[in-house]
Symmetry: C2
Subunit: 648 residues, 2 copies
C-alpha cells in the first residue's frame, strides 16, 4: 500500500508531499528542488549526496559514501526511496554554491492521461460489439418438421432474437449439423453485424451448448517499430491481455520509406507481408498464453496502422506512397478473412482495417480520432501524433482537417550527435541550476547515460533556453561562467555528462547542430498546425483542446514543448494524452459497431491538406525557426518562465 | 447438306419422306413400317434384308449377303443410309409372313426440345449478366489531385457509369496500382452485381487497357454420374464450349446414398470434395482448351446439383440426408470463393450454388424450373426429372409444389435381369410385329445387344402390353404362338434377342420380375404426380404442359410412357424436353442477374411435400400398380392404341 509522506527539504524547511516508494530525487525535481546529478541516477557521479536528518529512506547506499558518512545519514538521492515522513538536508556541494534551496527550477507538467472509458460507452448506448453470441434452443427436427438445419437456425434467430437478413458463412455451415445435434439442438450462434445498416448479418460460427459469455476479439496497432495487441472480452469490454513486439520488418529499415524501397524489390512485398503477419501471430500467441482463451474463440480482429504499414500488411503495392504525388492504392479496405492475411486465426475470423485519409495520414490517426472521441466533441480540438512524421488533425464533430508534416527523425534521436531511441541509459529528463548551470539528468532505467532520447532533447533545449544558455536561434552564450559550454567539432556545445559519469567512453554533449535540427523539426510541426488552423479561417488561439498521441506524447514535458514553440501556448489542464490512440481506436471498433459505422462518416468528413501545396506553409515554417517563434507574442508563457528564473 | 428424300416401301407402295444421311431402318420404324431386326442394327442377325428396286442407298453390305444377292439390290436395312429417292421392297421373310407392309406398328412421339433462347432473354430485358466489364478512362493522378487509386476508380465508375455502393475486393486492390498505370489510367473493371438490389456491387478485377469484350463465365451441373460444364461468353451469351466427364466420386458408389455412406467414413468427406472438384477442374481445362479463353478471364461460376452433390461439393455433412427425417444442412448457400472449393480458377472468381428445396429436391431441379421458364409461366405445368429418384414440380408463376419419389433404379437398368446403363449395345428402341411378335431392336451404337437400358425397357414393356403379350398386371400371355415367350428362372419371360444375335453369351430376355420392378417404379412416379396435383385441390387433367428433364427424358417415347401409365395421358405437342435443365438453369443465372434474384423468390414459393407423409399417396401408388392404371378411364389413348393394333 502506498501512502502519502511529507518530505522537509533543508536548508529552507520547504515541506512537500510525496508517495512512499517514490525516488527522492524525482520528488525533488518535480517540486523544483535542485539536486546536482549528472549521471542520470545511476550512482556513478555520487554528486547527489543528501543527509537524512529525521526519519529514514530505503537504499541510497554507494561505495562513494564512507561507512562513517553513512552512519551520519549521508545517502545518494538518486537511489533513495521514500518510506515515511523524512527531513532531508541538501548539502551546499549538492544544492550548489549560491542560492541553495531557495532557487527553484520550473515545475513541470505532463498531459493528463485520457483513459478509455468502457462505462461511458455503455451509458451512451454505444457498447454494441459487432460480433455477438446468442444462445438458441431449437425444436429438434422431426418427420413433420424436417426443415434444413440452416433454415431452422435462421427461423430460431428470427423468432427468439428478431434477427433478419442473415447469411450463414461456409465455415459455420460446415459445423452446423454436429453443433445442433451434440446438445440436442441447444446451440450458440456467433453473429457478425454489417458495418452498414442495410447489410446482412453474418452467422460466422456455431457451437453446441451455451457459450454466450465467451466471445473474444483482438485490437492490433501495427506501428512501424512495434506491433501492439490487446485481447478483448467482447462480452464485458475488458482487456484480458496486452502485449507488444518489435515489427519483424524492422531489420529491413527503420522507417516507412526504407520498407517501401524493400517492398519494391522482387519478392520484397511478400516478405514484408509475411514478417508483419508473423509478428502479429507472435503477439496473438502471447495474448492467448496470458489468458484462458482458445484461439478458436477469437471471432474478430480490428487493425489500425499507418498507410504504409496497412499497404504492406495487405500486400497492396506501396510504391506511390513515397513518390510524388503520393498516391496510396486505397484508403478504404474491405473486410478481409484473417487467414488470407496469413494470420493464425479461425477460418471465420474477419479482419477489419481502419481506413486511412492519405499516404501520410493513416488508419492509426483515424483510429485515434475515433478512440479519443474527438470525432464527436463540440470543442475545437488539435489531435497530434509526433514522430518522424507528425500527423495533425484539427476539428470537432462538425468538420475535420488533417495533414502530415515531415519533422525528420530528431524526436526519435535521429540527426542528433548523441541522439538515441528511448532505451536504457537515455537522458529522458533534465533540469539545471540557474546559476551554476550544473545539470540534473535522469536516464531511463537509471543507467549511466549513453545518449539523449526525444523527450530528453526537448526538455534539455527548453531548459538551456529558459536559463539563457542558448539564445532564440539556439546559439550558446559563450560569456557564461561554466566549463560545460565549449567549442566542439560542430561549433558550440554543452556537456551534459562528463565521460567518467557516462556509460560510454566520451562526454555526452548537445551541440548547436543538434539544436538546429531540433528547431527545424519543431518548426515544421508548429507551422503545420498554424497553417492548418488558418486554412479553415480560424486562429491558433481558437483551439480549445489538445490531444497528444503516440509514444513521444506520453513523455513530453508540456512546459518545455511550449517553451521551444513545438506546441502552441496552452493551459496544460486542457491537454490530454491518449497513449496509443491507434490501439484505443481499434479496441473501440471491436466494442462498438456504432463506431465502426461512424468511422466511414468521420473519414468522409476529413479534408486532407498537402502542406507542401499550401503557399503560406513555407512562411510559417521560416517564422517558426526560432525559440519559441519569431512572433514571441504567441508565447507569453515563455517570457514569464524566463523572467521568473531571472528573478529567482 | 441434308435433303428430303422420298422412300417408297413395297409391297403396298407406301411413300414416306425422310432425310438423306438417315438410316433406312430408323425411317421405317418411325413411320410404323415393320422390318424384322433382332440384333439391334449391328448386322449380326441379318434378318433386316431389303431389296433396293429403284435409286440407291449407301452401305447395307454384309457378309451375310452373297455377291449375287448384292448385285440384285439386296441390302441390310440396319446399315443402309439414304442418299436420294429410293424404292425399297421389304421381302416376306423380313416384313414377315402375314400382313406384310399393310401392318403398321404405332408411330412414336418424342417430346419437343425446348431450346434455351438467348434472344428472348434479350428481348425481355433479362440479359444482364451479374458479372460485367466496363472500360474507364481516368484522369492521371497529379499534385493537385492525389486521391488514392481506389478512390479514383470509384469516382470514375460513379461519373462514367453512375455506379454506386461499390466495394473493391482484395485481389483487385492488389492489382490496382499497375492496372491503372500500365496504359495511362485506361483500365477495364469487372463488376459483380449483388443478388439483392440493396447489396453492394463488388469490383472483382481490374485490367489495364480495354477488355470489355472478354468476359467469361462457367455453368456447371454436378450430376451423380456425370459433371457437365459450359464455357459462356458473358458478353454475347453464347456457349463457347460444352463438355462432360464422369464424376470422379463414381468409384465410391453409383448413387447418392452410397456416396453419403462413404463421406461418413474418416476422411471420406474430404475425398468426396476433392474428387468432384478434380472432375470440375478437368471439365474446366477441357473447356478452356476448346476455346481461346484464358483461365484468368473467368470471373464467375454457377453450379447446380442435387442436394447430396451440393453438400459433398461444399463439404457440408450429408449424414442426415439419408436418415429420417431427411434433413439437409442447408438449402441456401452463400456465395463462395471458387478457390475455397478447390477449383482451379482465379482468386476473385465467385461460385454461386443453386439453392435446393429439400434433401431430395435439389438445386438441379430448381435450376431446371428457372432455366425452363416454368417459374414465370401462366400455364399449370408439370416439371419432371426421372431417374432413380424422380423429382416432380407442379405449378406456375403463382405457386409451386414439389416432391421427390423414390422410383428405384429400374429406369437406369437397375433391378432388371438384363438391365444396363444407356451405353453401347443397350437396346434403346423397340417395336414388334403384331402377329408374329418378332422384335425390331435398336441398340445404342448399333452394337450387338448386350442388355436393355431405361428407355428401351419402357418401350419394350409398352409394346408388349399394346400387343397383348403381357396383361394389365405384366404377366405373359402363354397362349400366344411364339417361341419367344417361355418360362425362365424368374417365371415367364420374353426373348428379345437370341444368343447368336447378341454381344453376350446368352439370350437377352425380359421377365415378369423385371416388369414388376418397372411397374413399381412407374407407379411411384405417377402416384406422386397425381397426389401432388390433388394436394393443391386440382385434378391431373388440369395440367396444361409437361416439361421433361434429365437424360432419361430425352430418350423417352411419350406414347409408351402413357401406355404404361408413367406419364398422364397428354397431347404430345404439349410435352417439352429441356435436356439438362440443371445446366440450362446454371447458364441462365450466369447471363441474367434478374434470374438470380428471382431464384430466391421462386424457392420461397416452392412448397415441398414428403409423399411418405401424405396419407393418400399409398392408395394412389397401389392403384397405379397396373398397366396403365386401375382406373383405365385416365388413359383413353391406351385403349385406342390397342384397338388400332387389333384391327390392323
Amino acid at each position: 500500500m502506498k501512502k502519502t509522506v511529507s518530505v522537509t527539504f533543508e536548508p529552507g524547511g520547504r515541506i512537500v508531499q510525496g508517495q512512499s516508494g517514490e525516488m527522492l530525487i524525482d520528488l525533488a525535481r518535480s517540486q523544483g528542488v535542485h539536486i546536482n546529478a549528472s549521471c542520470g541516477g545511476s550512482g556513478v557521479c555520487g554528486k547527489c549526496r543528501i543527509i537524512i536528518e529525521k526519519g529514514g529512506v530505503e537504499g541510497g547506499k554507494s561505495e562513494k559514501i564512507s561507512a562513517e558518512d553513512f552512519e551520519k545519514g549521508v545517502r545518494l538521492a538518486c537511489s533513495s526511496v521514500m518510506i515515511d515522513d523524512v527531513t532531508v538536508r541538501v548539502p551546499t556541494d549538492s544544492s550548489l554554491h549560491k542560492g541553495g534551496l531557495s532557487l527553484q527550477v520550473p515545475v513541470r507538467h505532463r498531459a493528463m492521461e485520457h483513459h478509455f472509458d468502457i462505462d461511458s460507452l455503455r451509458k451512451e448506448g454505444l457498447f454494441f460489439p459487432p460480433v455477438e453470441k446468442v444462445a438458441l434452443e431449437l425444436p429438434p427436427a422431426s418427420a413433420t418438421d424436417n426443415m434444413a438445419d440452416a433454415g431452422r437456425l435462421v427461423q430460431g434467430l428470427k423468432n427468439q432474437y428478431d434477427e433478419h437478413r442473415l447469411i450463414i458463412g461456409l465455415p459455420a455451415l460446415r459445423k452446423l449439423r454436429d453443433a445442433l445435434r451434440e446438445k440436442n439442438f441447444n446451440t450458440t450462434v456467433t453473429l457478425a453485424r454489417p458495418v452498414h445498416n442495410n447489410g446482412k448479418t453474418h452467422v460466422v460460427n456455431v457451437q453446441s451448448g451455451n457459450w454466450v459469455n465467451r466471445n473474444y476479439g483482438l485490437a492490433v496497432d501495427i506501428g512501424t517499430t512495434t506491433v501492439w495487441g490487446q485481447l478483448i472480452d467482447l462480452h464485458t469490454g475488458e482487456i484480458l491481455a496486452y502485449t507488444g513486439d518489435y515489427n519483424g520488418q524492422i531489420s529491413y529499415g527503420e522507417d516507412v520509406i526504407s520498407r517501401i524501397i524493400y517492398a519494391e524489390k522482387p519478392k520484397g512485398a511478400e516478405l514484408m507481408q509475411e514478417l508483419v503477419a508473423a509478428t502479429i501471430n507472435k503477439v496473438i500467441t502471447t495474448l492467448l498464453a496470458e489468458s484462458d482463451v482458445d484461439r478458436d474463440e477469437i471471432d474478430s480482429i480490428t487493425v489500425a496502422a499507418n498507410t504504409t504499414m496497412t499497404h504492406l500488411f495487405l500486400s497492396l503495392e506501396p510504391h506511390n506512397i513515397r513518390r510524388a504525388p503520393y498516391v496510396p492504392v486505397s484508403t478504404f479496405f474491405p473486410p478481409i478473412r484473417a487467414t488470407d492475411l496469413n494470420l493464425d486465426l479461425p477460418k471465420h475470423a474477419i479482419a477489419l482495417l481502419y481506413p486511412a485519409i492519405s499516404s501520410y495520414v493513416g488508419g492509426d490517426i483515424v483510429a485515434g480520432v475515433m478512440g479519443s472521441g474527438m470525432y464527436r466533441t463540440d470543442k475545437l480540438t488539435l489531435y497530434i501524433d509526433i514522430g518522424t512524421n507528425a500527423e495533425i488533425v484539427i476539428g470537432s464533430k462538425e468538420w475535420l482537417v488533417c495533414a502530415a508534416c515531415s519533422a525528420g527523425p530528431a524526436f526519435e534521436g535521429g540527426g542528433i550527435g548523441y541522439g538515441m531511441r528511448a532505451a536504457n541509459g537515455a537522458i529522458s529528463d533534465f533540469s539545471m541550476h540557474p546559476q551554476t548551470f550544473e545539470p540534473m539528468n535522469t536516464t531511463i532505467g537509471r543507467k549511466a547515460p549513453i545518449g539523449i532520447c526525444g523527450s530528453g532533447l526537448l526538455i534539455i533545449i527548453a531548459t538551456l533556453f529558459e536559463h539563457g544558455v542558448i539564445d532564440q536561434r539556439g546559439k550558446f552564450n559563450q560569456d557564461l561562467d561554466t566549463p560545460r559550454i565549449r567549442k566542439g567539432k560542430s561549433g558550440g556545445e554543452f556537456v551534459l555528462a562528463w565521460k567518467d559519469e557516462c556509460g560510454i567512453n566520451s562526454d555526452i554533449t548537445i551541440s548547436e547542430v543538434d539544436i538546429e535540427n531540433f528547431i527545424r523539426a519543431k518548426a515544421a510541426i508548429y507551422a503545420g498546425v498554424k497553417t492548418l488552423v488558418e486554412e479553415v479561417g480560424l486562429h491558433i488561439t481558437d483551439l480549445e483542446r489538445i490531444i497528444l498521441a503516440g509514444a513521444f506524447g506520453s513523455y513530453i514535458d508540456l512546459d518545455s514543448a511550449m517553451t521551444v514553440g513545438l506546441l502552441p501556448e496552452f493551459d496544460a489542464g486542457k491537454i490530454m494524452y491518449v497513449g496509443n490512440g491507434s490501439l484505443m481506436g481499434a479496441r473501440m471498433s471491436e466494442l462498438s459497431n456504432h463506431i465502426r459505422q461512424d468511422v466511414v462518416n468521420a473519414v468522409q468528413k476529413m479534408t486532407s491538406f498537402e502542406l507542401s501545396e499550401v503557399a503560406k506553409f513555407k512562411d510559417e515554417y521560416v517564422a517558426s525557426l526560432f525559440l519559441p517563434h519569431t512572433d514571441t507574442g504567441l508565447f507569453p508563457g515563455v517570457k514569464n518562465r524566463k523572467e521568473a528564473l531571472l528573478n529567482s
